[in-house]
Amino acid sequence: MRSFEYLAPSSLNELLEVMGDRAPNFKLLAGGTDLLVDLKHGPSGPKLVMDLGAVPELKGIEETPLGLRIGAMVTHSQIQQSALIAEHAPAMMAAAATIGAVQTRNMGTIGGNLVTCVPSLDSGPVLVALDAQVTVAGVHGRRVLAITEFFVGPRQTALAPDELLVDILIPTAMLGRATAFRKFGLRKGQALALVNAAASIAVDNDRIVEARIALGAVAPTVIRATDGERVITGRSTDDVGALREAAAVAVTETRPIDDFRASAAYRRELVAVGTYRVLEEALALATRS
């Protein structure tokens, strides 16, 4: 590994000050499961690596008046084991369980996963389905963005060079919302998603009153399939055909690529199947409660 300077700030203010001074000549170290690989094998090395491990403002999962707050440094394992997540947003646990392997889930963080902003990131679809917001901070202040605004392109977020992701908020209205997640990979463990999908559904008087469909690995970023959502909104909860229609429409909203893992045609097929399954599961959860 090339040499670099290492700092481990102990507060968000201290961190932001150094970021303001040194942007863009640093890298932030969260779980390190991607960054260490880049530091070893990437084309160029940063002058400064700042470890976020000692910044208390980036940790913890808690209920707030606005919703459930998840610190950017919360690990995938912590999400899998959190009683608050289990109560309010259990689909996040299902998504976390599909990431990497035990070791990578013990190290990797939800914030790190989102900031990589790869199209296949497994934390993304459930957060989109739950209408999550993210707080980003820089030396000049804080901004709150919808998760869909945070994802800009492949490996490109809305973060300015002197900003970082602080936390993720699941708004109160979405807590306990019936939500499902599916991931399709070439194998079960340590696999990149060929397609991942999430859906959330709210039901009132035997009608679907709100639906959100989120798809990953089939467009430059995780996307919402809003046309598919419109197909089922207002439909009866007994109308099984509506889910198939919505899934077929969702396929038209994707732009999958051909690569060595799968063809675009196969990915479109997986979108149809995956969307149908997450809608079916979310609807079953919504009508049960």
Binding site: D51, G53, A101, V102, T104, M107
Partner: protein
């Protein structure tokens, strides 16, 4: 240079390292604990698996400075010729190991599993080993070995194994 101090296998270890030194490198090269292996060096193979504060991690993906002040368990802390941990004893009985390169990481991953879940199902054992690649065995005897270790008295009785200072 950075001073690091950590409790490795119950013993305080100190070193002065450049920031870019990985935990794996300080374990192997500074302290001579070569049981943890350098395999893929990118966090896929699990040959470098160690426990940090009880959690299994890839030592190749951690900087030594990140682990300052924490507790580390490597394969050297699990057992030796005089006393084998029940996982190691079961691997020996069943011939679970062929070349052995993956074995230190697998034993550590199995320990992490059993510490939390002393009676795992076969599926749970498989999931716990998803981050440990073995290119020799096909995993069958490894999975049987872990299942057998879970039937050992020290594990079924929930006694933490501490003979000869081993975990």
């Amino acid at each position: 240079m950075h001073q690091v101090e950590m409790m490795v296998n119950g013993q305080v270890r100190r070193a002065e390292v450049p920031a870019e030194t990985t935990l794996l490198s300080v374990l192997r090269e500074t302290w001579g604990l070569t049981g943890s292996k350098l395999g893929c060096d990118v966090g896929d193979c699990g040959a470098c698996t160690v426990l940090v504060d009880g959690l299994s991690v890839n030592a190749c993906l951690l900087l030594a400075v990140q682990v300052d002040g924490q507790e580390v368990l490597t394969i050297e802390g699990m057992g030796g010729f005089d006393y084998l941990h029940p996982i190691q004893a079961a691997f020996e009985r069943l011939s679970s190991i062929q070349c052995g390169f993956c074995a230190p990481g697998i034993v550590i991953s199995a320990k992490a599993l059993i510490d939390k879940n002393p009676h795992p199902t076969e599926q749970e054992i498989r999931e716990a080993l998803a981050g440990n690649l073995c290119r020799c065995t096909g995993y069958t005897k490894i999975i049987e070995g872990i299942a057998e270790a879970c039937r050992a008295p020290a594990i079924t009785d929930g006694i933490s194994v501490t003979e000869s200072g081993h975990v």
